[in-house]
Symmetry: C2
Subunit: 341 residues, 2 copies
DNA sequence: ATGAAAGCGCTAACAA
DNA sequence: TTGTTAGCGCTTTCAT
């Protein structure tokens, strides 16, 4: 059960392996008849050239970077991807994307995969798994593999490009306070995301910096997906006395906000008449809808571009560069899902 | 300007390259002191092990497949990606995703990239570029690289997993005819997509199989994105006499439908009171919104699973398998964006 | 137009 | 615990 190699093909076609190589690489130095014989042999033996062996001598080095995200179906990440691709492509780099879907295990495999496949560097949205297994990131460091994180991680020095979540959350809260709201609930993000904690933190701090009082039941652990927003919202209002309704809901992201609004519609609770809703990210789907969402705009595209920029700078530097830490500001975009009380 | 290799590190650390290799691979056979010396040398020389060279001898073969899509921001493709990942991961394959963003050139580079990086096979949503440059797909074939297409292409024998677009379009049209509509417009997809043509074809055939008359101005070339739907819709109705309004719009996909509905809202044209709207795909964002969209459900997840299934079967087969052609049926889901006339 | 032979940078036996 | 050596499967000169 040996794998068939270029030698097998050469033998079968009655030529040397140099010739077979020429055929594979579509060189024009090989006679049509020889070429056909080789092609025939390749086909009959079902021969597949091994990619890594091929590249060993190649001068035409291929450049590529990896992007490791957490949720392939979240427009926040695909928005970043677009920014990364745009910049990287303009610099002659191809980009391949992989998603851990929140699994730390997959993230580790995937990041190793990148290094093994000779990807030149990676941009990673890390999964924070309870006891923070960041072993693999240290692995990348010892082998000098360039990478940029899309979320800060405690305990590791690295390049980071992220949003200033605390600040942006405080901006949203200030807006709400200023417009008469104080009964506010936060539908928070998944436990494995640093963004989630930073946003909760911002929510929290906004209260302590105001004259309003914070209660822990103002945080509803939800997740990052539409369905979770929908579901948790239904649960939250189930059997709740309308007197105890919040006047505003701030969501982890737009997906959750969309789910919340859908649930609210089903419960026949008016937005923004009865409850104001604020999202996070400003994904394309919330811009012009029937109830355009007030949201905190994450500069996804810029996030991607900046991360790619730093990564490629590191890839092309012959020596270790000092770590960069970019915090982009998010901006509140007021649309129709919020109102003054 | 030579690249630093394992030999450089070995020399600098005063050990043999075998030892350096052991350090890189975290073997426990190397003394702590030696290890540190090597690590130090690696760091100082900013040494990065070449991935392909490493894998040449490795027994721990890594299995991965590639997914080449056309629009990273389209939930239709990310839905497929999820299906692919689910199946592939369960079989021990990692999946990496790349997007051509409608560029034939990028698609070619990317598909070559996959073969060079020793990805075991690929699932490809091909870009049809006018004169159909499918040269690279033939390239894959001569080198026996397994792949599955997500759209049929004329002139190439290959595995295909797709939706029966003609049939599903006819289903939607029948629904519309049965509910009293005949002034129907199709906001069609991008020129580089086979899906777009098949859907136009289905639209067309639905008319010829009915007693209603088709006019070529019923087709509005639009695209695959939200913004295009929004824009084209605005243009379409600009200066048009309400007498000449269609009673229904069938869109290439849900993204376009969403854009169309947003434009309609802006124009203060009621959906479904004045105009019924039908989408295509049933992406998550159209399910529970304020005007839940009537749409043709594409089984994205199943599309992904089936494609991955076929691909992996081909990868694991020692010889060429006969080509498979899977046509999945789409189903009309009636929600609130359509009404009986 | 083709063959022979010398690597590519690494890992994996095996010796020492 | 470390060094030595033989490949891995291919591409690329350089002859012929």
């Amino acid at each position: 059960m040996k794998k068939t190699t270029i030698d097998d093909v050469a033998a079968k076609a009655g030529v040397s392996k140099g010739t077979v190589s020429a055929v594979i690489n579509e060189k024009n130095t090989v006679a049509a008849m020889t070429r056909n014989a080789v092609l025939k042999a390749m086909n009959e033996l079902h021969y597949q050239p091994r990619g890594n062996a091929r590249m060993s001598k190649k001068s035409t080095a291929e450049y590529s970077i990896g992007l490791l995200i957490r949720e392939i179906e979240n427009p926040f990440y695909t928005g970043i991807a677009l920014g990364v691709m745009e910049f990287a492509n303009s610099k002659g780099y191809l980009v391949t994307i992989a998603s851990s879907e929140g699994s730390h295990d997959l993230e580790e495999k995937l990041s190793q995969h990148f290094t093994r496949k000779n990807v030149k560097g990676a941009i990673i949205a890390p999964v924070l798994d309870g006891t923070a297994e960041i072993h693999h990131l240290f692995g990348l460091k010892t082998t000098n593999f360039p990478f940029v994180l899309l979320e800060r991680i405690k305990g590791i020095q690295a390049n980071v490009v992220s949003i200033d979540n605390i600040k942006s959350m405080k901006t949203a809260m200030k807006y709400l306070f200023d417009h008469g709201h104080s009964k506010i609930v936060h539908f928070a993000g998944p436990k494995h995301a640093a963004h989630a904690f930073e946003r909760i933190d911002g929510f929290n701090r906004a209260f302590s910096e105001s004259r309003h009082v914070y209660r822990s039941d103002m945080i509803v652990m939800t997740g990052a997906h539409y369905d979770q927003g929908f579901q948790k919202c239904l649960e939250y209002f189930d059997g709740r006395n309308p007197e105890n309704y919040p006047t505003a809901i701030v969501c982890y992201n737009d997906l959750v906000a969309l789910g919340v609004m859908a649930a609210l519609a089903q419960l026949e609770i008016g937005v923004p008449d009865q409850i104001s809703v604020i999202g996070n990210d400003n994904i394309p789907f919330v811009r012009n809808g029937p109830i355009p969402l007030t949201t905190i705009e994450a500069p996804m595209h810029e996030l991607g571009v900046r991360a790619a920029e730093i990564l490629i700078r590191n890839i092309e530097s012959p020596k270790q560069l000092p770590f960069e830490n970019v915090l982009l500001e998010a901006q509140l975009i007021v649309r129709k899902s919020t109102r003054t009380l």
